[in-house]
Symmetry: C2
Subunit: 247 residues, 2 copies
């Protein structure tokens, strides 16, 4: 539980490698996560080779931690293994559709969070890479992912070389609804975002970004409509190419 409550993303790593037994223990924790029907339709690709890490670093927008961290874990929605098993048993698989991609992505993501917590419990640091879904086709090429396999998230893993503060979160009432969804009023929105908007940390970010406010930092600079639409189209193309859009 301490690991969950004290989680901080780590963006600077020592070059110390991770021992084999510790890595096995962490991956084993991933494999204990719940999966739909216990089908385990996901895979974890463990990458440590410098040349491969360099290619992954390029596809993850050249974030320095991807080169620095000794281990890169790419979590993939994976029906390839299951399909092969079915075909080998003369049982026609019916998993070339969108629902099956979502099912497999859920499996991969629950396993990823187990891995993250297990790693932090061992004193290691992690950081998730949201760029995985943006650059899925490039990652498929680098990691040689066959049809039926789509990367959904990545964790870089290593010994921390920084001790950042705990990151802010919205008050719990911002994300929790009781019984049914209670929609937000203009007043509750102001109230829920006020701590964030008045913090010195974000004031500096707003000033540096040349925007008027924090909502603009996100919507006009960091996660823009044009980028989101571009990456939506490419991700849907990837799902089709990897065999998940027959329905």
């Amino acid at each position: 539980m301490d690991a969950i409550h004290s989680h901080k993303s780590i963006r600077k790593y020592k070059d110390t490698p991770i021992s084999g037994p510790i890595l096995q223990h962490i991956l084993q924790a991933g494999s204990r996560a719940s999966t739909t029907g216990n089908m385990q339709v996901y895979s974890i690709v463990v990458t440590t080779e410098t040349s491969l890490k360099e290619q992954l670093w390029e596809s993850h927008f050249k974030q320095p931690m991807v080169k620095q961290a000794p281990v890169i874990l790419t979590f993939c929605a994976d029906f390839n293994r299951f399909n092969r098993w079915c075909e080998q048993r003369d049982a026609k698989p019916g998993y070339n559709n969108f629902l099956s991609f979502i099912t497999a992505a859920i499996d991969a993501l629950l396993a990823a969070q187990n891995v993250a917590i297990a790693a932090e419990t061992q004193g290691l640091g992690i950081c998730y890479l949201g760029t995985t879904t943006y650059m899925a086709q490039r990652i498929i090429d680098i990691l040689k992912l066959p049809k039926g396999v789509v990367p959904v998230t990545t964790i870089v893993l290593g010994h921390p070389d920084e001790t950042p503060e705990l990151t802010d979160r919205l008050p719990l009432e911002a994300i929790v609804h009781y019984e049914t969804y209670q929609d937000y009023t203009p007043e509750t929105i102001d109230q829920l975002y006020s701590e964030k908007e008045t913090s010195e940390f974000y004031k500096k970010i707003i000033a540096d970004s040349g925007t008027q406010n924090l909502a603009e930092v996100f919507s006009q600079k960091r996660y823009t409509q044009a980028d989101n639409e571009h990456f939506s189209r490419t991700l849907l193309q990837v799902l089709a190419a990897q065999g998940f859009m027959q329905q």
Copy 2:
């Protein structure tokens, strides 16, 4: 870590309620999970009222644990709050697309697994409901989820009234690949599935199902092509209706 390695889905619950402080502690654990850009684009709907639980039970294929467990947690991809905040700050949001749904779904799922582990650490039991994505429209109606919000998974939560055995898993080498993806041969498929296929537990399931083998149990009985295609179409309709398919 113990909670991770000893995780078992619980399908029978006592009717003891969960105390407020423990529930808060568990939900707080959810809110510590990593989210893309720390945007926290997810929500958790906590349902305990009998009449609402009964409606959820119906939509989750009438699995008894949904009525039995005192608390139902529905984890939703949620850009509604973020969009409202942006609009209130005159910052045009660009999140009505597929990538944004996937981003928000990832946030929701990592938070869900934190909640699951935190609950188990408190001695509570949980079970994930894969039916959430199949029945998303019905759940949207019951929980009054507005545009921008899509349920992606559900956890039932309560005091266990059974102590099941640890569920089998494929050997770790089935799900882990080193450096790049190492595709499976017919021999490795046979080897990786042999323990499962020869277990007494699955032999009984095969006999009861009237199929030839375990792969048929899954592909012809439990997760069929016709069902998968039907639920793929309905889920894509939900994404469009909830405002995630403009790209």
